[in-house]
């Protein structure tokens, strides 16, 4: 048995009172693709940031090729052959590819010869790995998939032998994922070691040869990928058995209750982001919107929920026009007509993070009885109601007085859902309902959405998670560049088919 290229022993790390990593031990063998799986907040990214020298562990030791090293900053780990592709790319958007790659490793005070050499070397590297990147392109002009390649190229140029990728597929289309996996496999062939951090079981099964599972800051298991399966890994991640498929009854379609005609919408910079869209949703139906982030889904949802002006076209609810370019009903009036909205960005639009849970739970209804009387809040009623509804929606901990930002992502989302669903809306607009939410809570949120549908609500679900769209929707539309480029009944549709549409090629 060869000695591992990377060995972690008893790593501990806390942020304030939260212990993000507890006594972590990990061995990664040279030339393998090693998966690290766990839910959001399990401590995977923290652990890898320690390996990359970005965070310093409180205790524990790190060995590379059997030699103990002290990582005080990313420079130390880069010098020791560790590269990391972060979940949020570490690129300067208005710099060129070349500038981003040489940053910190310029090798000369005044640009000249070394810069020309670097360019030559990088062109060579691009050719070897078939990267097809224009080194003089500005990052802002590149697609997400290309930016990721720039990150990989950057690590390779800096001499990485161990390449850590943190949730690399979250923002990619299925085809881009295929491309990425091809690159990673060829890197492995070259003898590089890859560490893949993910919460997606399918990627682990697809790509890795060994897998380590983390839960709540602890390492709960290591195994060879071929000796395990998805169900077993999911159980290790969550600590109990989970339903990976949603139970869904046959659809009972009703009347069309929500209709959008020739809708166009501009964004804040006056660019048309939604282009002439038509759609209708029936009662008892979930309509899924698939698409890569930034293809107009955000602006569409905002226009439908009355927080963004309609440029042209109109929106109808129960046959009555609620918005066109001259008039639109504000969110409060829409709420009274039975439309609820769970916004994409829960920290920015769904919640006031610094408020207490009970304040967020009644926000929007705070001026109605029984929560207030003659403009004075009735705290007793509010707290009782909050405690009850938090019980019902399984918000943990059930403490209405806790500041909202102290809840986990999943529990924050449950707070929003409980507020929006409690009034039994007829139409529900949902954006990214499970972004940053743990598996246990995903299961719960999905079940709630299905329940709403079975009770006859019309639901519009926008999500970048194809699995989510495929498992919940009755009908799927795909958005690309502000237009609907495809519509399919959700029967025998594959993620590949949708992926082609999402990339705008089909």
């Amino acid at each position: 048995m060869v000695s591992p290229i990377l060995e972690l022993t008893n790593i501990n790390k806390s942020f304030g009172h939260v212990q993000a990593n507890k006594n972590i031990n990990l061995k990664i063998n040279k030339g393998t693709i090693h998966g690290i799986i766990g839910e959001n907040g399990a401590g995977k990214s923290t652990l890898m940031s320690i390996v990359f020298g970005l965070y310093q562990a409180n205790s524990g030791s790190i060995k590379i090729n059997g030699k103990e090293i002290n990582l005080r900053s990313p420079r130390d780990s880069i010098v020791n052959g560790i590269g990391m592709v972060h979940q949020h790319f570490m690129l300067v958007e208005n710099f060129t590819v070349l500038e981003n790659i040489i940053l910190g490793f310029e090798g000369e005070t005044v640009f000249g010869e070394k810069l020309a050499n670097a360019k030559k070397d990088l062109e060579e590297l691009c050719k070897t790995y078939n990267f097809n990147i224009d080194l003089d392109a500005t990052i802002a002009d590149l697609s997400v998939g290309f930016r990721q390649r720039v990150e990989i190229l950057k690590s390779l140029y800096r001499g990485a032998e161990i390449l850590i990728l943190d949730e690399p597929t979250g923002v990619l289309t299925p085809q881009e994922v295929d491309e990425l996996f091809k690159i990673l496999r060829s890197l492995k062939e070259e003898g590089k070691t890859i560490v893949l951090i993910t919460h997606k079981l399918i990627e682990i099964m697809d790509l890795t040869s060994e897998v380590s599972v983390m839960r709540q800051g602890e390492m709960v298991g290591h195994t060879k990928t071929q000796d395990t399966n998805k169900e077993q890994l999911a159980e290790m991640m969550v600590g109990r058995s989970v339903l990976l498929r949603v139970d869904k009854k046959e659809i009972k379609k009703g009347e069309v209750i929500f209709k959008v005609n020739n809708l166009s919408v501009k964004d804040d910079l006056d660019v048309i982001r939604v282009k002439n869209i038509n759609l209708e949703i029936r009662s008892g139906e979930i309509l899924g919107i698939a698409g890569v982030t930034g293809n107009g889904q955000t602006e569409l949802l905002e226009a439908l929920s009355g927080i963004r002006k309609v440029e042209s076209g109109n929106i109808q609810l129960f046959g009555e026009k609620i918005s066109d370019q001259d008039n639109f009903l504000n969110p409060r009036m829409l709420k009274e007509k039975g439309l609820a909205h769970v916004p994409e960005d829960r920290q920015r639009m769904g919640l006031i993070s610094d408020f207490k849970a009970h304040e967020n739970l009644i926000f929007g209804y705070h001026d109605q009885e029984p929560f207030s009387k003659s403009a004075v809040l009735n705290n007793k009623e509010i707290t009782e109601y909050s405690s009850k509804i938090m019980q019902e929606y399984d918000v943990r901990p059930n403490s209405p007085n806790l500041i909202t930002s102290n809840f986990s992502g999943g529990n924050q989302q449950k707070i929003i859902l409980s507020r929006e669903l409690n009034e039994n809306p007829k139409v529900l607009l949902v954006g990214q309902p499970t972004r940053g939410v743990d598996i246990g809570a995903i299961e719960f949120i999905h079940q709630r959405l299905i329940d709403m549908r079975d009770r006859g609500a019309a639901i519009l679900l926008a999500s970048v998670e194809l699995d989510e769209i495929l498992s919940l929707s009755d009908r799927i539309i795909v958005m690309f560049d502000g237009k609907i480029v495809g519509e399919k009944e959700n029967k025998n549709v594959t993620d590949r088919e949708l992926g082609l549409l999402m990339a705008g090629v089909a």
């Binding site: 942020f15 900053s73 949020h88 300067v92 040489i102 940053l103 910190g104 310029e106 640009f111």
Partner: protein, 323 residues
Amino acid sequence: MEFLSDIASLINSTLRISTPLVFAAMAGIFAERSGVIDFSLEGKMLMAAFVAAVGSYYLGNPWLGLLLAIIVCVCLSMLHGFASVTHKGDQVVSCVAINILIIGLTTALAAAWFGQAGLTPTLNEEQRFLEINLPFADSVRDIPIIGTLYSDILSGHYVFVYLAYLSVPIVFWIVFKTSFGLRLRAVGENPSAVDTAGINVFAMRYKALAVNGVLIAFAGAHLSTAVNANFFREMSAGRGYLALAAMIFGKWHPKTALIACLLFGFTDALQIRLQGVELPAIGEIPVQLIQAIPYILTVVLLAGFVGKAIAPNAIGQPYIKER
């Protein structure tokens, strides 16, 4: 000929008046490109003027006064860095605190040392910078155009005027052609990218602030040891803020910032020239209105006349590495 010499003297004063603005705008570019807001240009300029005047008075040499001003301004920049980079305080609040501190401190120290609130003794010729007459300036004066250009516009300025315009291409070269400049721009756009490239974000910002302190000291020394021969209360008179506006108007770029500084300098030169002049059909324009021209121009330009100024992405945000 009357008209030509009027124009020449207008350009001459534009160059002189713009000088402290150019130094301050270049100083601002260093701080703000690194992601640190610098409203304290005003306060630092005032402090530099005070220290330079007092320094030359006691040491008898204006260069030593300038050196002292540089040291003090770098210290003030470090103070700003300590509050807003190391301790992640609000950058604007830190600047406002420095500005207020300095208005009070200069007045109080002048009172304590020289017995006059906010006034330092007049410097003699040994203790201040004098106008530099370029060689042959007198002999070529009578050659048409070239003579005017050389003798009346280019010649006869204080050393700071030449240094200010020399600093612009140097700043451009540092910011865009050196690895320090690349790192400087990166740290103001995306400090995480700089950190993960193995560069110390805090050290980069401190370095940028140090350069900022050196440059702003020149602006202050120009005011109290060159164009004036003493320090008086609040003598920076909003030039630090005007330079900041010029820098924003110039989109954080040395060349366009220079143009903005010259524009502000020109309106100021013009308003001095226009005072008391009778204009046909209008008559004499009230002095107050004329004096307001540079400030009105600032407001109009910044209120969107120049399109959207896109600031460095991470400006004003302290870098927090661990959540």
